[in-house]
């Protein structure tokens, strides 16, 4: 009787011991020099939210990446140290799930041996992929992960293999705060943010931190909500000068529509998640007046930017609709990787990482992009102004 127990306990001890010993072995062996470029292609992995909660945005990004790749390949490919290599995209779906994103990243870097990764759309899925990317020394460039700490390690040092092509929340939220206070001269503001993503809450928080006037009320909604009448009715009674509403166009469009219908006509200021033609379609052109949003991808600014004009025309020709910001950001991400390869004259993943870190004044659809020491994308920011559903002006914010 005693025997079996003792055996069991010793057995457990054996497992635990060997676990401890072999855990050391297994982690010790992973010292690679990154993934080299092989054959006639440069492999770029796409770790993207193609299904699940952010599936809609992920698919827009996929379109941008595919467009850029097609363009590059039709011109012969990427110039790797004098030789033209075609880009091979390996697109995988992470379901908007952290665990799947980690698995996708592992598969891309280990099985497919990609040289660089574009993705993910959301911060949460992105951070889950970082350990696997770092282990394999493959850079990941996210078109739209906005959390300020996304590119940082716990101790505040930069994540060596993680980059982003978009603004981080503090910058964009701060810009919104400055614009509302300085340009709109609004002193009493209500915040209505998307509480189901880091994007909406992150912007709300940084806005509140940096706004010099008074934030009268802060309310939240979740992605998928359709009825905002209760909150807006409440806002209407609070004598506010403006609403700051960071979120995506699908909900902000409804907020604009419902605010105007209950006669709440104060300016509504949002972020680049709003910069989509669908915003006006959902809100209704008549309602989409007195609307402002911070964006890198201003349609008016874009007219002076040949890269952007080309992109917008190509997008419209292919998908029969105005290009969404997400597609533009993903399109830029693809070209940034191309630029990094050509600058470093190598498509080895470690070299691409170095190339990405050194990108300066890259001419993208979303403006002149430079990667800073925190691997954030620095680019000019503009505030676009909508009236009757049309962009009537844009203001550069310094």
């Amino acid at each position: 009787m005693k025997k079996s127990t003792i055996k069991r306990i010793t057995g457990f001890a054996a497992i635990a011991m060997s676990a401890a010993i072999f855990a050391g072995c297994t982690t010790a062996k992973t010292t690679t020099q990154g993934n080299d470029q092989t054959g006639n292609t440069v492999k770029i992995g796409v770790n993207m939210e193609l299904s699940g909660a952010a599936g809609g945005y992920g698919n827009q990004m996929k379109q941008g990446i595919q467009m850029a790749t097609k363009e590059i390949n039709s011109k012969g490919g990427v110039n790797v140290n004098g030789k033209k290599k075609k880009i091979k995209l390996i697109i995988k779906d992470d379901k908007t799930s952290t665990s799947t994103s980690a698995s996708v990243a592992a598969q891309l870097v280990n099985n497919d041996k990609v040289n660089a990764i574009i993705g993910t759309a959301t911060t949460n899925a992105g951070t889950a992929a970082i350990p696997n990317e770092t282990k394999a020394k493959v850079p990941a460039l996210s078109p739209s992960a906005t959390d300020p700490n996304f590119t940082l390690q716990k101790d505040g040092k930069v994540q060596p293999y993680v980059f982003r092509a978009c603004y981080q929340n503090n910058f964009q939220g701060g810009t919104g705060a400055k614009f509302i206070y300085n340009n709109l001269k609004a002193k009493r503001v209500a915040v209505l943010g998307d509480n189901s993503t880091d994007y909406g809450t992150g912007l709300s928080k940084s806005f509140k931190r940096q706004f010099k006037g008074k934030v009268v009320d802060t309310q939240y909604f979740s992605a998928g909500d359709k009825d905002f009448n209760a909150i807006l009715t409440d806002f209407k009674n609070k004598k506010i000068d403006a609403i700051y509403a960071p979120g995506y166009y699908s909900e902000i469009g409804l907020i604009i529509k419902q605010a105007r219908q209950i006669g709440l006509n104060v300016p509504i200021v949002g972020s680049d998640g709003m910069a989509d033609a669908k915003l006006v379609q959902i809100a209704g052109a008549k309602n989409a007046s007195n609307i402002y949003y911070t964006t890198p991808f201003s349609q008016t600014v874009a007219k002076q930017n040949p890269v952007a004009v080309k992109f917008m025309n190509a997008y419209k020709a292919r998908y029969h609709t105005d290009a969404p910001t997400f597609s533009a950001l993903a399109y830029d991400s693809t070209y940034m990787i191309k630029q990094a390869i050509e600058n470093e004259k190598s498509a080895n993943s470690v070299k691409i990482t170095k190339g990405l870190a050194n990108i300066k004044d890259f001419n993208g659809v979303t403006g002149k992009i430079s990667i800073d020491g925190k691997h954030d994308a620095n680019k000019p920011i503009a505030v676009e102004h909508l009236n009757n559903g049309k962009v009537v002006g844009s203001t550069q914010i310094k």
Partner: protein, 259 residues
Amino acid sequence: MTSLLNVEDLVKNFGGLTAVSDVNMHLDDDELVALIGPNGAGKTTLFNLLTGVIVPSSGSITFRGTDGTISLNGMKAYKIANLGMARTFQNIRLFKELSVLDNVLIAMTAHYKEDFFQSVFRLPRFYKTESQIRKEAIELLKIFELQNDLDKLAKNLPYGIQRRLEIVRGLAMKPKVLFLDEPAAGMNPEETADLTRLIRQVQRDFHITVLLIEHDMSLVMNLASRIYVLDHGSLLAEGTPTEIQQNKAVIKAYLGEEA
């Protein structure tokens, strides 16, 4: 000495319907009492009241426990069961998907202790209690000739054996009173004869009080020392089998006016 179980002025109303009204009865140690009555007389309702499945509207039920008399009114069914009252069900309620042995072991739950850590980490003490309790269960099953069916699922047993297992399961609780709800229902004469022997054996060997609901008069008259007759929720008569057989009111209730 007071009776083992004492029922006074027991009433149960369901909405406007009185299912049991002003029932007085008592059960003494070691006797076999039958409860008879036409269909819908409230026999099973009375059982449910006594075992705590339903709560009486008024009246009292008291039980002589080890330390004095306890009122059972409003007590939870499992607590009443643990005082020493076991029962079977009219429409057999065995744990169908479990083995014969498990059915009996479950009934013994209150009679042994197993600490969570003992059982989860399979400490020596666990094996000790487990083997002891199994031995006990198997011995009990042996008495009722079920020792060869230990691992069979209860639902796969023949009907008569299921009835028998339900009685064994009740006995495994080491009860002071055993309530049997129509144990002979659906049995052929041969099975009924077996059952009669069985109940007698139970009462003799285990020295417990048995209260029996039954329609089979031969069985009742054979076994019971006293009989209660229930009709329309109230007690019609009480007495020995011979007394009941000659009671005019009872004959009337059973055979209708013309008798």
